[in-house]
Amino acid sequence: MFADLPLLSLLIWVPIFGGLIVLAVGDKDPWGARPIALIVTVLTFLLSIPLYTGFDTGTAAMQFTETANWIEAFNIRYALGVDGISMPLIILTSVIMIIIVLAGWKVITHRVSQYMAAFLIMQGLINGVFASLDAILFYVYWEAMLIPMFLIIGIWGGPNRVYATIKFFLYTFLGSVFMLVALIYLYFKAGSFDILAFHAVQLSLQEQILIFIAFLLAFAVKVPMWPVHTWLPDAHVEAPTGGSVILAAIMLKVGGYGFLRFSLPITPDASHELDWLIIGMSLIAIAYIGFVALAQQDMKKLIAYSSIAHMGFVTLGFFISFSIFASTGSYEGSALAMEGGMVQMISHGFISAAMFLCVGVMYDRMHSRMINDYGGVVNTMPIFAAFMVFFAMANAGLPGTSGFVGEFMVILASFKANFWIAFVAATTLILGAAYTLWMVKRVLFGEVANDKVAALTDLDGREFFILGTLAFAVLLFGVWPDPLVDVMHVTIDNLLQHIAQSKL
């Protein structure tokens, strides 16, 4: 029934047009925009289900493809398709979006329709990024995504929002323009903007290194990797809860996706040559940023830094493959690392979203994000406290939660490459537990700190539903990651075989 529909186009354009409708409805009826936004996100989620059920896990080829001419003079096509890497990310986006709309249900009180519209349009653009098979189409979505995010932080953010949002925009813009130059260069090499044609193009090592660096600028800023991570804590702190959720859960994944779709397959030799750089940056992110997180007083900042540390596992998993291959001579270890990175991306999407929502729940009641303003919340909000402890455990990588699976896979694989890399990576198990649980201890447990805390009310139905859904997902993928790993397995194997062949 769904096979004939242009599913990917619908996933891109239903939210965008839905956003425009919400915008047109406006705020005259204060409740008008919310239900429409919810309907659109639910509809988009339903549309994303056949993507999973109809997905053929036996092939690495692009599926659900659509192609149309767009700018004929330069052979730029409207080409869409998904494989095992992009499909789970699209579904993650669909789920997270429903949660974002619900999270902003009561909290956002001014310019509601514009808020909802910005998120819906953003959803369409993000789906476009994941589904594009044409480099210019990809770039258009990639850049256009900045516009709603810029507005979301700037309009609905905290006191220092303008600084944060302009910093965010300029950092990401700087990263992407050099990618554009690289993409145009590849166009002249490959004769078209087809991303899959880019994969096959032959490049000398010097060309590869320059292109790799251009891509790295774009993707490292998005991930974000140390040392270009500094926009993230600012953006997170100032963004409204929904903005933080989309940043952590999805925007960061776009960077990781870029490495898999562009850097590794297009410039395998440069990736091999420079993998020490990425591994080094990832390890610094994991260990050093872990310490930075430990020192934070602001809960959102703490989670933002923990996001950077967790994303370090993603990049580590992607780029350690070369060392594993060199030391063991087989794909298996490499596949474990790369799949670990992917699992980590999805799992971090759920966990970081949940953590930011937990902070949001408290912020809505107390209007403070400072750890010192809290204490003994468990006495007044027991249900909430249970959720938060659970997500904190997941964030720290407790076995049985999805946070464990990805990190464990990456660490396990790293051992095959080099003991010390694995050793440094494994410090996260201590550091992650330290900063997360210490925060939980100070915020949730102990005596009731002040009158405000004493007056807190526990979760309402809406909040319970949001956190419950995320808790279910975190637990599900923690004990049974197979549905996730199965869909990406063939694609990742194919990618590994591709990058193992030198282009020189």
Binding site: N69, W70, I71, E72, A73, F74, Q114, I136, Y139, V140, Y141, E143, A144, L146, I147, F150, L151, G154, I155, R161, V162, T165, I166, F169, L170, F173, L174, V177, F178, L180, V181, I184, Y185, Y187, F188
Partner: protein, 480 residues
């Protein structure tokens, strides 16, 4: 050149002849129209432009055709550029009407001068001889000098006109001097013959290079490339906004045509010579334009510096020296003219009879006063930044493509680097409109025709951004 006289083909030049006639008609008719019915002059001017467009399209030849002993050329590039010029000027007239009325300068002269300026641009576009090029350039310049000084009670405008006149005269002198060098070296004023005469000549020939320097300097002055840009901020700032809008849009298109006729068609064989000069001009324009714009507090001056930086991009396309580069520049200049015009239109929309709303702080909280207008301006700003899905992205994309294709990747890197710096001041405009609190929260009253024109203009920026294929193909078809 043959000495016998052949009857020129007047039909090819009929758009110019028609507009000249109409401009004279408007001039005379205006004498008999009293102030209450001044709108008739406006209508007549608009009809003249419409008529000229129809004539232009009707007589447009499919390929380059020369007449008047080779001093005039009509070709597809000219047809497209001229059509865009009419369209842009018609929009400028439309935007200006209320503005002029509010300031009691709603006079027929504005339209007469405006039409003569268009005539000058048309001649610049179609000129194929040093003399006709100079004729068109001066016709445009003199009309524009007068227009800048048009608001005679405004000291600022008079000062701007004076600066413009003096610097413009110097630039014209430079250009003429350069042309005389070429005449001395080759003995011809005709572009085609010039191209033949310097064919195969060494690009280090001292006389030719000497002349080339002066020609490039003159052109750079007119287009406003650094270091010959000094007049732009002052003139943009000082002139009445309706005139700034005029200067900033269509004349740039004609200036592009001048580059094409002189440098590409006439001195194509000296490409190696002028390419290096343009590289310097382009990089400086990108740097100075983008960096100084950061420090501006006046919207008109900010847009002036932004123009300078965009000129840098246009020069990049030209200096690539390939057909792809020329068509990229053409696409850039057309879309930029349309975008810039709308930017100045916003100032007109915000201005009141007693106050020019040309300070950046006047934009504060615009999204509260009029969300729609603010959103349209947001599109324009993102287009100037070069963020998709607006048309400014494709303009930059095509130019970058062209220079990367001629192995000047470093130059592309420089260009995008400065674009990032430039992004800041465009973002600041958006910040003022959307993130800042309102100082003056009176709802914005926008006349319906302004609202429609501004919205169409801005939505065109978005629409061409979503479906740029047709315009790209059109620009590419000109250079084959």
């Amino acid at each position: 050149m043959t000495n016998s006289f052949t009857m020129p083909d007047f039909a090819l030049a009929s758009p110019e002849i028609f507009l000249l006639t109409m401009a004279c008609v408007v001039l005379i008719a205006d004498l008999f129209i009293n102030d209450d019915n001044r709108v008739l002059t406006y209508v007549l001017a608009q009809l003249s432009l419409l008529g000229t467009l129809i004539v232009t399209l009707a007589v447009a030849p499919a390929e380059a055709t020369y007449t008047f002993s080779g001093t005039y050329v009509s070709d597809p590039m000219g047809t497209i550029l001229k059509s865009v010029i009419y369209l842009v000027i018609a929009m400028v007239f439309l935007y200006s009407r209320g503005y002029l009325k509010d300031r009691d300068i709603f006079k027929g002269e504005y339209y007469v001068l405006g039409l003569f300026g268009v005539l000058g641009m048309m001649i610049m576009v179609s000129a194929h001889n040093f003399l006709t090029i100079y004729l068109g350039l001066e016709l445009l310049s003199l009309s524009v000098y007068a227009m800048v000084a048009f608001h005679k009670d405004s000291l600022q405008a008079s000062e701007a006109a004076m600066k413009y006149f003096i610097l413009g005269a110097i630039a014209s002198g430079m250009l003429l001097y350069g042309m005389s060098m070429f005449y001395g070296a080759t003995g011809t004023l005709d572009i085609t013959e010039l191209a033949t005469a310097i064919e195969g000549k060494d690009s280090n020939d001292i006389v030719l290079i000497f002349g080339l320097v002066f020609v490039v300097v003159g052109l750079a002055f007119k287009l406003g490339a650094v270091p010959f840009h000094m007049w732009i901020p002052d003139v943009y700032h000082g002139a009445p906004t309706s005139v700034t809008m005029y200067i900033s849009s269509a004349p740039k298109i004609a200036g592009f045509a001048l580059f094409m006729r002189l440098l590409v068609e006439g001195m194509g064989d000296l490409h190696a010579g002028w390419q290096d000069m343009l590289v310097i001009l382009a990089v400086l324009s990108l740097a100075v334009g983008n960096i100084i714009a950061l420090a501006q507090t006046n919207l008109k001056r900010m847009l002036a510096y932004s123009t300078i930086s965009h000129v840098g991009f246009i020069l990049l396309g030209i200096l690539a020296g390939t057909n792809a580069g020329y068509s990229a520049s053409m696409f850039y200049i057309i879309t930029y003219a349309v975008t810039a015009m709308a930017g100045f239109a916003l100032i007109i929309i915000l201005s009141r009879r007693d106050s020019e709303a040309d300070n950046l702080s006047d934009l504060k909280g615009l999204s509260r006063r009029s969300p729609w207008i603010a959103f349209m301006m947001l599109l324009l700003m993102f287009s100037m930044t070069g963020v998709p899905p607006t048309v400014g992205f494709y303009a930059k994309l095509l130019v970058l493509q062209a220079i990367i294709n001629v192995d000047m990747v470093w130059l592309a890197g420089v260009a995008v680097g400065f674009s990032v710096i430039g992004a800041f001041y465009y973002l600041r405009v958006i910040k003022l409109m959307f993130f800042d609190d309102v100082e003056n929260d009176s709802p914005l009253k926008v006349p319906a025709e302004m609202n429609i024109a501004f919205s169409m203009n801005s939505l065109a920026v978005l629409f061409v951004g979503l479906f740029p294929g047709a315009l790209i193909a059109m620009c590419a078809a000109v250079f084959v």
